[in-house]
């Protein structure tokens, strides 16, 4: 049985004859999957579209930025969080954000609910721990505040599959830094050394203060981000370019969120 949400991935496979599922169940009109709650803790249903992420307060600025880079209006009107999560492409634009937020993927089957930290959800390109009898019903995360951003490198602003993507979350109240990297490894990667490096700087200067990072600190952060990547050469870019662009994006992301409180 194959599940159909927005159709932006599955329909391409059907149109090109790459998949011929015997049964397709369309879940795009299940209202229970379209819920969105936030009161310090965000619960987003799998059926929330990218367009809704842009139109509504979704409790993550980085997620909104990521949603805006997805495809085109036509794609954003139908594509969903749940589709992005369940498809588990390393280039899925919302996924580095979920990683950086330490989000939890919520799965449900007739046996009940299962909550899997995003870090343990994806196991390879388009592979994850969802069982055949389970449905991704949504994702949850703690509202991490305003200091967060998403960046994506590609050949144009619209309709582009990321050559590399990066989400940075500085949760000042919980005193944690999250860095999620997309399109530069078999799964979404966390740049844990870069996270530790940035956390130590915030720890030293005070988590709740505006700070101006030194050039050397920014450079080092970017370097540590790039070393976390496990990129390959492919049609979209080379491994060397991916490492380069991740270092640049890391540096820019940190300088962007540094003053956000």
């Amino acid at each position: 049985m194959t599940l159909l949400a927005g159709g932006t991935d599955l329909m391409v496979d059907l149109n090109f004859g790459r998949k011929r599922p015997e049964h397709v169940v369309a879940i795009d009109r299940v209202p229970e999957l379209a819920h969105l709650e936030r009161n310090g803790h965000v619960r987003m249903g799998a059926g929330v579209t990218y367009t809704r992420m842009l139109a509504e307060d979704v409790g993550s600025a980085a997620l909104r930025e990521a949603a805006r880079t997805v495809g085109s209006p036509q794609i954003r009107n139908v594509g969903t969080l749940g589709g992005n999560v369940a498809t588990s492409s390393p280039a899925g634009d919302t996924l580095p954000v979920l990683a950086a937020l330490d989000a939890v993927v919520v799965l449900r089957s007739k046996q009940g609910e299962r909550r899997v930290p995003f870090a343990h959800f994806m196991t390879g390109p388009k592979k994850n721990v969802r069982r055949a009898d389970e449905l991704v019903i949504g994702a949850e995360w703690d509202d991490a505040g305003p200091a967060q951003t998403f960046m994506k490198a590609g050949t144009r602003n619209a309709m582009v599959i990321a050559i590399a993507g990066l989400a940075l979350v500085v949760d000042r109240s919980r005193k944690r830094v999250g860095v999620g990297l997309g399109s530069c490894g078999p799964t979404i990667l966390r740049a844990s050394q870069a996270e530790g490096f940035a956390a130590a700087i915030f720890e030293a200067h005070g988590w709740d203060r505006h700070l101006t990072p030194s050039e050397a600190e920014l450079k080092e952060f970017g370097r540590l981000v790039a070393t976390a990547a496990r990129p390959i050469d492919d049609v979209r870019g080379t491994a060397a370019y991916r490492r380069h662009v991740l270092a640049v994006m890391g540096e820019r992301a940190l300088s962007r969120v540094w003053s956000m409180t």
């Binding site: 329909m11 391409v12 149109n15 090109f16 599922p21 397709v24 085109s72 209006p73 009107n77 309709m159």
Partner: protein, 155 residues
């Protein structure tokens, strides 16, 4: 499967084969050839239609999943021989070259102006970013959208 849906304001029925897209049903069963079939992967926007008011690529809609929905194609815009203001603006601006992408651009423009009657250049570029013109006539297309907006067009 037997598909029943609203197309351009009329109740229609059509046979949809397994794995077939709404675009195929519109073109091959219902004789609505305005929505063009090109990339079949949602990249080009030539098959743009409105479903329940939302701009979507008909090639990415599984026909069976469109059961009961309200579909509006480019054919819904003109009133007989009388062109819709967006169509008129595209003609007047010379925004049509080979014409293949035009229906998609017209549907996307109508959807944009419905929601944002006075878009800026940047807003137009973003709203039409899912439509590709291989003749690269974007300058004239941008002009056509401004002309439509200037005519005070609202859906």
């Amino acid at each position: 499967m037997r598909l029943r849906l609203q197309v351009n304001g009329s109740q229609r029925e059509a046979e949809a084969r397994e794995h077939e897209s709404l675009l195929t049903v519109l073109r091959e069963r219902l004789g609505l050839w305005g929505s063009k079939n090109a990339c079949e992967q949602g990249e080009c926007g030539s098959c743009s239609v409105l479903i329940d008011g939302d701009l979507v690529c008909a090639c990415l809609v599984l026909a069976g999943a469109a059961q009961g929905r309200d579909v509006r194609t480019v054919e819904d815009l003109a009133a007989g021989e009388h062109l819709h203001p967006v169509q008129r603006a595209f003609v007047d601006a010379g925004a049509v070259q080979c014409g293949f992408c035009t229906p998609g651009f017209i549907v996307a423009t109508a959807a944009l102006l419905r929601d944002n009657p006075e878009p800026s250049d940047a807003e137009i570029r973003e709203a039409l970013s899912g439509n590709i013109c291989r003749c690269t006539g974007y300058g004239k297309i941008l002009e056509a959208v401004h002309r439509s907006a200037a005519q005070g067009y609202t859906s």
